[in-house]
């Protein structure tokens, strides 16, 4: 993000007259696109959030904070999403970090194949991949079935937080792995040797060198997975059997069932606010990171 801005400003600064015109000409379609498809809908959502429900559902203009007050009265879906997204992000970290580390440092010539294997599932529909987990968790023919066959122990996975968590981690893992992989791959291996040379063991080296240097990638990955997880709707519905009432479901309730657009808009704005706080933290972190010459991966 910062890099792009810098490049843009340099272009603008260097190009007095003709090339400045060219720049604005080239930027125009993107700007239009951005305004029409991002800014305008967002503005509409914000405006709606201060309105009231029309008699037959939808939006009627008004200027009220009731929808936001109401938001505070219904914290469950928000809290549920926050807990689930946090757990999912931690899960992605726990799985993604070793995976990215392996890919970046140990995989050698298999690296490209493994990266490809990581991406290939994402050529199919998200829905199908989520459904596939229903089969894997099938109590008779899936993992629980096999465990039951081998040990006699019966347990269920579908409709539990574990299933949702697995689905979330599986669904968003690449978004965590790729930024991490990029930072770890750029990591100068002699820094690790230097650390060991100076008396730090494997873990101490990982903690003091690898982790701090990979931190921008780690933060990028965490934000990339956390934000969509906050709005996740399909995975808790399918794998969680709808037992987890999350923000995504609440938005559907507001818009489609209550047909109360202003209430739904207020919810959406609340969710966006949380994302903004998260991204602000990220930008702050990147700026702080500039002092360590580590650039953002976004």
């Amino acid at each position: 993000m910062t890099a792009a801005t810098a490049r843009g400003s340099r272009l603008a600064a260097g190009g007095r007259g003709r090339s400045a015109l060219l720049t604005s000409l080239l930027v125009f379609p993107a700007t239009l696109w951005y305004v029409a498809l991002l800014v305008a809908p967002l503005a509409i959502v914000v405006i709606f959030s201060f309105g009231t429900r029309a008699k037959n559902g939808g939006y009627a203009p008004a200027l009220t904070l009731d929808n936001y007050a109401d938001l505070l009265n219904r914290p469950e879906p928000f809290v549920n999403s926050l807990v689930m997204a946090t757990a999912g992000t931690v899960g992605c970290l726990l799985v993604g970090l070793p995976l990215a580390y392996y890919l970046a440092t140990r995989a050698g010539s298999r690296k490209n194949v493994l990266l490809l294997l990581l991406v290939i599932p994402f050529w199919t529909s998200f829905l199908i991949r989520t459904y596939a987990w229903l089969l894997i968790f099938n109590p008779d023919t899936g993992i629980p079935g096999i465990v039951k066959l081998l040990t006699g122990a019966e347990f269920r996975v579908r409709g539990t937080p574990i299933a949702v968590l697995v689905g979330l981690v599986y669904g968003y893992l690449p978004l965590m792995v790729f930024p991490l992989y990029v930072t770890l791959e750029r990591l100068d291996r002699t820094l690790l040797e230097a650390s060991k040379d100076l008396g730090a063991g494997r873990w101490a080296t990982f903690r003091q060198i690898t982790l701090p240097i990979a931190l921008p990638g780690l933060v990028t990955g965490s934000i990339l997975v956390f934000i969509p997880m906050m709005g996740e709707y399909v995975i808790p519905a399918i794998l969680g059997y709808g037992q987890f009432y999350m923000m995504g479901n609440a938005l559907v309730s507001s818009f489609l069932e209550a047909r109360n657009w202003p209430a739904g808009s207020a919810r959406a704005v609340g969710l966006i606010a949380v994302m903004l706080v998260t991204v602000t933290f990220y930008l702050w972190f990147v700026n702080r990171g500039r002092r360590t010459r580590e650039t953002s991966v976004l």
Partner: protein, 390 residues
């Protein structure tokens, strides 16, 4: 392989310095293979305490691999390495009391200068106060006092180099390993740093093992130079010894410039002297440089001379040379003015092309005024003839 073993022991055995005391580093019959490639081949070497050792050789000669085995980043395929008398097979780098200065410094980008330098102390759990004191001392030592809070990338190459040095030295290692640490610096800075490093080494008294492919650098700094090629030690000795008495053609070519003349041994004299007839028919008396070999009559050898031992005399005919002098007539092919000296390339029938170097004194000097095409006589004393076996 069998020949190599003989070769090795011939050059190295009995050469251990430091007498009875335990060597800081002892490498015993170490071989390192990377797949089909043998990087280090049956190497045996003792590195004495407090001296400045250089591992010198072209790229791929095994010098860096040797260094990395001492540091613990690589494990020998065969043989044993001892640090301060103890075998270190399987001992990880962080448990060895050696430190390395890396080629590109490998400074930690997310730490300031003081944090970099104090890193090793922190791993040992030094108290904060002691860490600060020793970091300060180390920075003083490398003349970077007051740079502690600077970011490493704000420093110049030479300063970064010094941080890397301080970071290693602050731990008081038994041996300091330096992997071409000056390679990234420009020539002038490099020369300065060479002298500085040498002075530093004397000051701290720590054994330095310095890897370089730059023979001049090695000659400038080292107490002992270990010349390596194809994973084997070619010769080990002080700078003068290596230059004056290279034991083989590789060493004589790698250290300095020489004029090689292939030939065969005709007579064996006392004190390792011999008479060689070159392939072009020149009969030369000289010294067999390697005391460990005793070539027989007819053995193929090379007679080498250093360019500065040769003189160029203008004109064609000369009075007969004095006893022990060799005269070879030829023509100047090229003369290059190098500032402090002039280099002539002389084409001769008897000795092929000879390189002659002459010190430029103020306004005077033999051979002055000779230019390309001029007939000359190249003269040298037979003391300059080095007979190289192999």
């Amino acid at each position: 392989m069998a020949a190599a073993v003989v070769d090795e022991s011939r050059h190295v055995s009995g050469r251990a310095r430091g007498g009875g005391q335990i060597a800081d580093v002892r490498i015993e019959g170490v071989t390192k293979e990377f797949g089909p490639v043998t990087a280090v081949d049956q190497m045996t070497l003792e590195i004495a305490s407090g001296e400045f050792y250089s591992l010198l050789g072209p790229s791929g000669c095994g010098k860096t691999t040797t260094l990395r085995m001492i540091a613990g980043f690589e494990q020998p395929t065969a043989g044993e390495i001892f640090l301060a008398g103890s075998p270190v097979a399987g001992v990880p780098p962080y448990k060895r009391n050696v430190n390395t200065v890396f080629q590109h410094y490998a400074l930690f980008p997310h730490m300031d200068v003081a944090q970099n330098v104090g890193y090793g102390l922190r791993q040992r759990g030094s108290p904060k106060a002691e860490e600060a004191r020793r970091v300060g001392e180390a920075l003083d030592l490398v003349r970077l006092s007051g740079y502690g809070t600077r970011r490493t990338w704000e420093l110049s190459g030479g300063q970064q180099q010094r941080v890397a040095l301080a970071r290693a030295l602050v731990n008081h290692p038994t041996v300091l390993l330096l992997d071409e640490p000056l390679g990234a610096l420009d020539l002038k800075l490099r020369k300065e740093m060479q002298l500085e490093l040498k002075a530093l080494q004397r000051e701290v008294g720590i054994t330095f093992v310095y890897v370089t492919h730059d023979q001049e650098e090695a000659l400038t700094m080292s107490d002992v130079i270990v010349v390596m090629n194809h994973g084997r030690i070619q010769q080990l000795g002080g700078p003068t010894e290596l230059y004056e008495r290279p034991v083989n053609l590789f060493v004589s070519n790698f250290i300095g410039v020489s004029n090689p003349m292939p030939g065969r041994v005709m007579e064996i004299g006392p004190d390792h002297s011999a008479v060689v007839e070159t392939d072009r028919g020149l009969r030369l008396r000289g010294t067999i440089t390697d005391p460990a070999v005793r070539p027989g009559i007819g053995t193929s050898v090379t007679v080498a001379t250093r360019p500065e031992r040769l003189t160029v005399l203008p004109g064609e005919a000369r009075e007969p040379a004095a006893p022990g002098e060799v005269d070879v007539p030829g023509r100047i092919h090229q003369g290059t003015y190098l500032g402090d000296q002039t280099e002539y390339r002389v084409t001769t029938d008897l000795a092929g092309e000879l390189i002659v170097r002459r010190q430029n004194a103020a306004g005077v000097g033999t051979g002055e005024g000779v230019g390309p095409g001029d007939p000359v006589v190249v003269r040298w004393h037979e003391e300059a003839n080095l007979i190289l076996v192999g």
